[in-house]
Each structure stands twice: as C-alpha cells, then as structure tokens.
C-alpha cells in the first residue's frame, strides 16, 4: 500500500488538522494574559513583529491567533458542504445512471442547468441573509450548490459500470437490485466518490472565501474566508500587511493540495490492475 502520493497527502492533511485542532490552545499559550480575539485587544493595524507575527487587524485582534482559530471552522464548513454535495450528487447521479431512459434525461438536463447557471448571483442574493447564519446553515447552502459536479461524474461512471457483463452475471445469480447497487456498483465508484468529496470540500471552502471577499459571507463566523474578506475590504494590502491575506490563501491551497494528493494516491491503490503487474497484451 506504500504509495508516495497517498502518504505525502495524508501527512500534509494530518499536519493541517493538528494545527486546526490545537490552534485555539496555541493561541492561548502565545497570548497568556489577554484574549487575542477580543475586539480592541491591541492597537489597530500593528505591523508584523515577533509578538504579532502577522500584525493586528482592523478590530485590534492578533491576526496570527485569528488564523489559528479560523482553520478549523473553515475545514468544518468545507467538510460538511462536501459531504452534503457528495451525498446529493451520488443520489442524483446514481438514479440517473442506474434507472436511465426518461429519468436519466430529466435529471441530466436539471444537472446541466444548475451547472451552467451562474450560481454566484443566486449566492449574492442569499448572501444578505447569510450574514447571521450559523455554520451548519452555511454548509448546507454551499453543499446544495455543489452537487452537479459530483452527479455528472457518478452518472457517467454508473452508466459504464451498469453495462459490464459482471452485473448481468450477478443478476443471473439471484442478487436483487439493492445488492447490485451497494455490493457491485458502489465499490467501483469509491475512487470517484472520494474524488468528488475532496473536490466538494475544497470547492466549498473556496466559495465561502469568495463570498467573504465580496463582503457577503457570514459575519459572525471566524473562517479563513472571513479573514481574507475583512483583510481585503479594510485595505490591509495598502498598509503593507500582506501576511493577513497570503497566509489564509496559502492554507486553503495547502488543503487542496493534500486532498488532491490523497485522491491521486487512492486512484492508484484502488485500481487493482495497477497494483500488481503490467498487463502486456
């Protein structure tokens, strides 16, 4: 099972997870007496220094502490939205692929419509209500708009797997539809489900950042997106404190990299033919 991509991906992800979970503790340790996340804890826009590695933001919060505390909410939103998008996508993709005929055409048109439809305007309209939503409602919303990508991938795969002779052979052996779906088709889909979960998670985090960037994200949540959004809107760049934007963007990209590497690794591991020997025809 030793696969370079998989190992490097998992190690990167676990590193990020550790930072995310222990973030709040680290920030407490760094700032023993005062709560760095309280409004007005420090002077506004302190330039980066040893004490404030990323300087302070408009609200006088220490940017580095804020960063440490916002990785976990971002990942949570991403994961929840990714899971929701993948579940919806698998259900839609599966029903379209497996049942086929008119159900398939109807679902396919619906999926393409949602995919082609510029989602952001809709987000923008909902954005105003997003301001005081909690984490779960936001993830639900991000998830609900993430499923077309997964649906397309799963549907194509189910269509091709459904035609394979081993499905007929299993039908002739008396397996009912339920068993065919979960025991025969699902294993073949796992790499694709994994891929869409990874892309869904990362996609949701990026979208959340995009919303924050144009000032429409959830105000009461401290996420990486929020940091980027507030930083940008309050002109942190012109004050020279780039770190407050580059750091969260960097972490988002690292998250993507880790999930992408894991997925590439799983792809090779899952495909039994690649595991053993070269098939010379």
């Amino acid at each position: 099972m030793s696969n370079a991509k998989l190992i490097s991906g998992i190690s990167l992800l676990s590193l990020l997870l550790i930072i995310a979970i222990t973030g709040p503790e680290i920030s407490k340790a760094m700032f023993p007496n005062v709560n760095p996340l309280e409004q007005g804890a420090y002077r506004q826009y302190e330039p980066p220094s040893i004490q404030h590695p990323l300087g302070t933001d408009a609200g006088g919060l220490d940017a580095f502490a804020l960063l440490l505390n916002s990785i976990w909410p971002s990942m949570l939103i991403g994961l929840l939205a990714g899971v929701i998008a993948t579940i919806l996508g698998v259900i839609v993709g599966f029903t379209a692929g497996y049942i086929g005929k008119n159900v398939d055409t109807a679902l396919r048109i619906f999926t393409d419509m949602v995919l082609v439809f510029p989602v952001l305007p809709l987000f923008l309209i909902l954005g105003t209500y997003l301001a005081h939503w909690d984490l779960f409602k936001l993830s639900l919303l991000l998830g609900v708009f993430g499923w077309p990508f997964t649906a397309r991938v799963i549907r194509a795969q189910v269509l091709s797997l459904r035609e394979r002779p081993y499905i007929d052979l299993v039908k002739l052996s008396g397996e009912n539809t339920f068993e065919i779906i979960f025991l025969e088709l699902l294993p073949g889909l796992l790499p694709y489900v994994g891929f869409s979960l990874a892309m869904g998670t990362v996609g949701a985090m990026f979208t959340e950042a995009g919303l924050q960037l144009i000032g429409l994200g959830a105000q009461n949540l401290s996420t990486l997106g929020a940091m980027i959004g507030h930083g940008f809107s309050r002109g942190v760049i012109s004050l020279g404190m780039y770190g407050q934007i580059v750091a969260p963007v960097g972490i988002l990209i690292l998250l993507f990299l880790s999930l992408y590497l894991i997925d590439m690794g799983l792809e090779e591991v899952f495909n039994p033919r690649l595991r053993t020997k070269i098939d010379v025809k």
Binding site: R164, P165, Y166, D168, L169, V170, K171, L172, S173, G174, E175, E184, P187, G188, P272, R273, T276, D279
Partner: protein
C-alpha cells in the same frame, strides 16, 4: 408443451430516428432432452440480442419467450428464482465477467447462497472445489485470487464451474470461446459436451465460428440480419447447405488444411444501393444473392421444410418454396 424453452416471434428494434431491426420475428424451440443448439451468425445478425432476451435481461419489442409454458417475463418472484436455477449463462468476455473488486470465488458463493445449493455452509467449500475440478482447474491455483491474476482460459472455466455448481437444465453460452486462446478452445467445448452427456444440461451455443458449431454437432440455426435463414441438423446443414447465404458462409470458412484451399476466388458483389433497401417485406439477402428472382424483392420468404428433406430441416428461401419443385440447387 413438450419443449421446455419456446422462443415465439420475438422482434427487437434499436434506435428511434432510424430504427434498426436487430431481431426480426425469430421463433425456435429447445427440446426437453439434453441437446446442443448452435445459433450462428455474423456480428450484427442479432444472436447476442436473442441471448439477452432469453435470459430475461432485456425485453423484446414484440413476441415472447416461454419456459415450461410460462412467459419468462412474469412478475412471480418464486417462479423467476426457479427459472434462474434452471437457465444459466456463460459470457463471452472473461476479462469483464468478474467484479475486479472481489476475489474470484465470490460469484460462486453468491450462487450457492442465493440458490440454496447446500444445506450447511461447511459443504459450500467442498462443492466449489468439486466443480472447479470438474472443469480441470486446481482449486489451490484459483481460490483466493483476484480476477486479474488469472488467465482468460482460467476465468472462462470458472464461469463453467459456476454452471456445474448450479446444475441448470439449459446454458446460454454467448460466444464462450471467441476470446480464449486456440489451445483452450477445445477444452471449453469438451466441457460443454460433457455437461450435456453427464448432467444432461442443454446448451444454446452462440457463435460466429461455424467450425466450432460443427464440432459440437446437435442442431444449428443460421441467422442473417436478425432473421433465421436455415435450421436443421448441424452435420447435414454444414455439409450441404440449402440457403445461398449459408452456402457462401460455409464455403468461406478458412479450413486449417493447406490441401483444402478455397476453390474459386470470390468477386466483391457491387454494393447495390437499391431503393428497396428500406422495404422489410422481402428477402434481406436479395441484394447479394446470385439466384435473386422477382419474388425475392416482393415477399418475405417463409421458413419452411424444403421438399424432399426431413421435417426438421427448414430454409427461408423462395428457391425452395412449393412452386419450384427440385430446382438445380439440390445437387
């Protein structure tokens, strides 16, 4: 009904814009006594479509298939389970007949479990090993392996072992030897014949290769563009075919013997793009038939006994319909 599988006027059409008749009003029976029926035709002649219909995997546009008098598409679950026990299949492509995710013996275990072939689980392993040996595979070489770790020949014989486990009354073998090495071909055919002799399991053997059909003997049904053109005893039909297409087909088999080379060189019949090509009520072979007559373009030749031949020998060609007694083609 004495015959236990009856295919009645099945027709299957694919495509809506330009409908293509994959199967066009085909009927035949498979007798009660263990026998081998060869269903022969080129790719696109509809033989695999017929196989899928008989197995109940796809519904025909019209016509029906009866098993022991009941239509195989009835909803009754118990009857379907019984039908599955008695009619099984062997597929063409050994490389895609197994789910790559599971070990090879899983399909055998499913069959045992679903058809309740053993009364206690411990017997299952013994039964599987017995069936593997019946198709001369060594259990220790096969069990525990993934499908891609076995050769094409081994995988094909595992499918036959599955049939040996279930002991059906009829196997639908859809080109089981076409993707297997030449050396292995005879082994698979011998197994099918053994099943017929020892366990009186009938086989509907589907192939495009006439020499394998002739080796299996039994009866033969020759298809052309979804229609039966000739049917009868394999040995008789393949030695002196009546239908012009069957004659050309059988004379074109590349016999593996340098002394028996093709006598005359064939000329490419000009691809006649006649206006008639859309009209279905005619002999479909009319465009390329050297003996084509007026009637061939107008009426569809019925499948009937040709004068002076046994009752089971049928041919669908106007040369043999009643009005032309003893035509030159008899020689």
């Amino acid at each position: 009904m004495s015959d236990f599988l009856v295919v009645q006027n099945i027709t299957q059409v694919f495509g809506t814009r330009k409908p293509t008749f994959a199967v066009d009003d085909v009927s035949f029976r498979i007798p009660e006594r263990a026998s081998i029926v060869n269903l022969v035709g080129e790719s696109g002649s509809g033989k695999s479509t017929i196989a899928r219909i008989i197995l109940g995997l796809s519904k025909p546009k019209s016509g029906d298939v009866y098993y022991k008098g009941t239509s195989i598409f009835t909803r009754n679950a118990e009857w379907q389970r019984q039908f599955r026990c008695e009619v099984q299949a062997v597929f063409q492509d050994p490389y895609s007949a197994y789910n790559p995710f599971y070990k090879i013996e899983r399909i055998l275990n499913i069959s045992i479990r679903k058809f309740k072939l053993v009364n206690n689980p411990s017997e299952a392993k013994a039964r599987i090993e017995e069936s593997l040996r019946a198709v001369d595979l060594r259990p220790d070489e096969i069990l525990g392996k993934y499908p891609h770790q076995l050769s094409g020949g081994q995988r094909q014989r595992v499918m036959l072992a599955r049939v040996h486990l279930i002991r059906p009354r009829l196997i639908i073998a859809d080109e089981p030897v076409s993707m297997v090495d030449a050396g292995m071909r005879a082994t698979v055919l011998n197994i099918l014949m053994e099943f017929q002799a020892q366990y009186n399991i009938s086989s509907l053997f589907i192939t495009h290769d006439l020499s394998t059909a002739r080796y299996l003997g039994g009866e033969i049904i020759i298809l052309y563009q979804g229609r039966i053109v000739e049917r009868g005893e394999t040995i008789q039909v393949t030695s002196k075919p009546l239908h012009p297409y069957a004659q050309l087909l059988i004379s074109s088999i590349p016999i593996p013997d340098p002394d028996k080379r093709w006598r005359e060189t064939l000329q490419f019949a000009p691809e006649v793009k006649s206006s008639q090509s859309q009209n279905r009520e005619r002999c479909l072979y009319a465009e390329r038939c050297p003996h084509v007559m007026e009637v061939c373009w107008k009426e569809r030749p019925p499948l009937q006994t040709s004068p002076g031949k046994e009752s089971s020998w049928h041919v669908a060609c106007h040369l043999y319909s009643g009005n032309l007694k003893g035509s030159s083609l008899e020689s």
